[in-house]
Symmetry: C2
Subunit: 504 residues, 2 copies
Amino acid sequence: MSGPQTPEPALDRQGDCSTGSGDEGAADGIQHSHRMLSFSDALLSIIATVMILPVTHMEITPEQKSDKSVQNLLATRIAVYLMTFLIVTVAWAAHTRLFQIVGKIDDTLALLNLACMMTITFLPFTFSLMVTFPEVPLGIFLFCVCVIAIGAIQALIVVYAFHFPHLLSPQIEDSAHRALHRRHILGIILQGPTLCLAAACFSLFFYPASYLLMATVVFLPYVSKAAGWCRDRLAGSREPPAHSLEFFTFDLHEPLSKERVEAFSDGVYAIVATLLILDICEDNVPDPKEVKAKFGGSLVAALGTSGPQFLAYFGSFVTVGLLWFAHHSLFLHIRKVTRPMGLLNTLSLAFVGGLPLAYQQTSAFEKQSPRELESVRVSCAIIFFASIFQFAIWTTALLQEGETLQPSARFGGREHAFMFAKLALYPCASLLAFASTCILSRFSTAIFHIMQIAVPFAFLLLRLLVRLALAALRALRGLTRPGRTQPAPRAMDDARAPLLPAPC
Amino acid sequence: MSGPQTPEPALDRQGDCSTGSGDEGAADGIQHSHRMLSFSDALLSIIATVMILPVTHMEITPEQKSDKSVQNLLATRIAVYLMTFLIVTVAWAAHTRLFQIVGKIDDTLALLNLACMMTITFLPFTFSLMVTFPEVPLGIFLFCVCVIAIGAIQALIVVYAFHFPHLLSPQIEDSAHRALHRRHILGIILQGPTLCLAAACFSLFFYPASYLLMATVVFLPYVSKAAGWCRDRLAGSREPPAHSLEFFTFDLHEPLSKERVEAFSDGVYAIVATLLILDICEDNVPDPKEVKAKFGGSLVAALGTSGPQFLAYFGSFVTVGLLWFAHHSLFLHIRKVTRPMGLLNTLSLAFVGGLPLAYQQTSAFEKQSPRELESVRVSCAIIFFASIFQFAIWTTALLQEGETLQPSARFGGREHAFMFAKLALYPCASLLAFASTCILSRFSTAIFHIMQIAVPFAFLLLRLLVRLALAALRALRGLTRPGRTQPAPRAMDDARAPLLPAPC
């Protein structure tokens, strides 16, 4: 894959890079960690999303609906899904941080990483055990054992990497205080497992204390993030903190690697989009005997009965695809992912993972029942939250736009208005659909399907529409104030929108 | 994510690249296609692997085992899985080629690509319809409609990209014969859909002809690949063909993008590893009522009954993980992926996708039954084929080592013997386990589990062992022929192994 005949610059670069790394490192088996990290991201994103399956596979008949125990079970499963998602995301963030310190890998580190992944795959199981048997301490005990095992493996990775310093990232490798760094990093890594060790001990005689400790482990990073962010906001400290220093202290507030945030998000979107086809392929191929008995051998008639499923699948795939598209467009304009943005991204993804639930809701309902109305509303709510958190990433990025955004996406940049419209499309559409179902409750399904069909066209025409709107605005301004021709920030945009001249 | 404080060179480069692309392209919404391609790879790899689920979810009781219809159903489902895998891989290869021509994307292309993905997700469903109702032409009709739709979207992408030539890869953009290229590329893209249009027409009145046409569409690339490779081998043409010319003719023999082969393979490995945890989380959390009734409220006893499942899960995850590890090591040393190597990789992945079947087989058997022996043998066979095709990629690469391999991995290179040992480990271990079950059939399960536990340790110690072996060999040689100190190719290596001095 050398130079001239390779068509694509990006591929070319990548090819050259692997070529280079393969050649350099071959001597001692040292490799760049790029592919191992992508694989870990794929695994972790799938594990985070898996627990939506017990939720979507719960079949509730209309008679069971009023049954308290069934409602409780559903609520429990949704809680398990959300908590698992958060826990796996915490594990993923720790993994990201760890491999920002360890820059290169060799075979031993690759195998240790696989062991770490395998332990993480067990977290969802221990967690659902915990929720199904809240009064039996075994679940929390197993959970703590998993966390301790993960911590031990990560500590082993750090010790190994510091033992062979050429595996470390260049900054730490060249640093004079390497031993100090090692102690500091090990301290941070072992915080969670130490708390879990205490929790495991407590689980043997007084399990409520274990739950408290566990909650501390899981929520501490989030709470500290949110608190830090609020403090920064209140104190109004606008200048970017000194990052080079921050990196060396392995601080919890350091920005996440943008590439890995993208890879993790891609994994979640991909698995959510295909969880649906998985169900369709397994459940919607009719049984030959049934076709003969019920439909007189007519396959078309048999497939017709699962028509709503296919429609819902299309709608759902389109929604996941377009949410990915919005995410992709947004991250093209982002330079750095700060911790609040990472948290908002996690929340958005958690709702994206709930989309199969929306699919199952809209595909299962019968016509004109109160259940139909409710299903459409749940779907609208899930889509709304998934997209509004994406929008929140964008607004959070705008708060520190100098650091986090490309010039073209900042206030007054060429892409600003377009980006704004792109991200506002789904929140507006789902909100509109929700509101319409309140007024025209009889047509709720039709409204929902119209929304799902209309949004892709809106995306296709968006650039055109935004350009037209901007041109119109500009023309209007040109008439009133000749000489100023920058794209006008839209009215809803933000009260603080400064009317800066466009950068070029 | 600018320069100095980013720790990892690969991440840094990536970050810079996205930064660059976001900034350059922001003006007209043009973007590098890197992330869209990764997302497509993830989607396609999951779709390719999905059809193993109907196979693994088939529960066969010992009484049903002799039932012909159940055996037929199982065979059918396995055939559906393998065929789907091949079909989706063909679609993936076409997609790879297409985006070697289209180097950059804008919003319209991203949306068209999503539409293409959605159509591809329907292929497994139409295919299982086809197999379940072989005599009803609806299945093949829908399949053909899908292929035609995919072709139409791809043609649209090509027409759009040629309309805005800055989206094309630089070579085609700068070429003087652009119109000629366009006609040629469209011709190749529309070949399959045209055949499928004929098949769709035939399906309405004489469906066997449709099957014949469909088989042509699916197998033509593979047959032509194999034939071309055999021809090359027989004619003994060792010199690399003129690639720059080949690329411009958009020939079927051009090498695949190594990065995308890796991404697709990663997707398959990741989804296979997690299909298992998905089953465990859904099926192995015991029911509280059952625990109270059957096990006197003892959760440990209840979990003990599904102990074999957990053991099998561990074994299976370890196997998938280590096969990924071997693949990863192999591709570190590969510079270019030729078509025969791509085909062998597909076959290896198809067997990797079968590993959940092995898991289900080993987790479901009862002690000391003939079923147990059979299950262990099936598992060994699946692992053997998955790993032997990896080994075949390596030997195929060695046939053209100048073109395809890094210097260090070629004959006489420093990593050659080690790579050889790494790739030979699983075929040898599974073959050994299979042979042992023939002799010691009573201990087949124990043998299988010992193999699964021993192999990771073998991987950890491999470098040490190979070094020791090489040092011993070298010492031996040094005694007999002083002055030659290169690492000796191992005895089994290859009869043609030239005793070249090591490159450095």
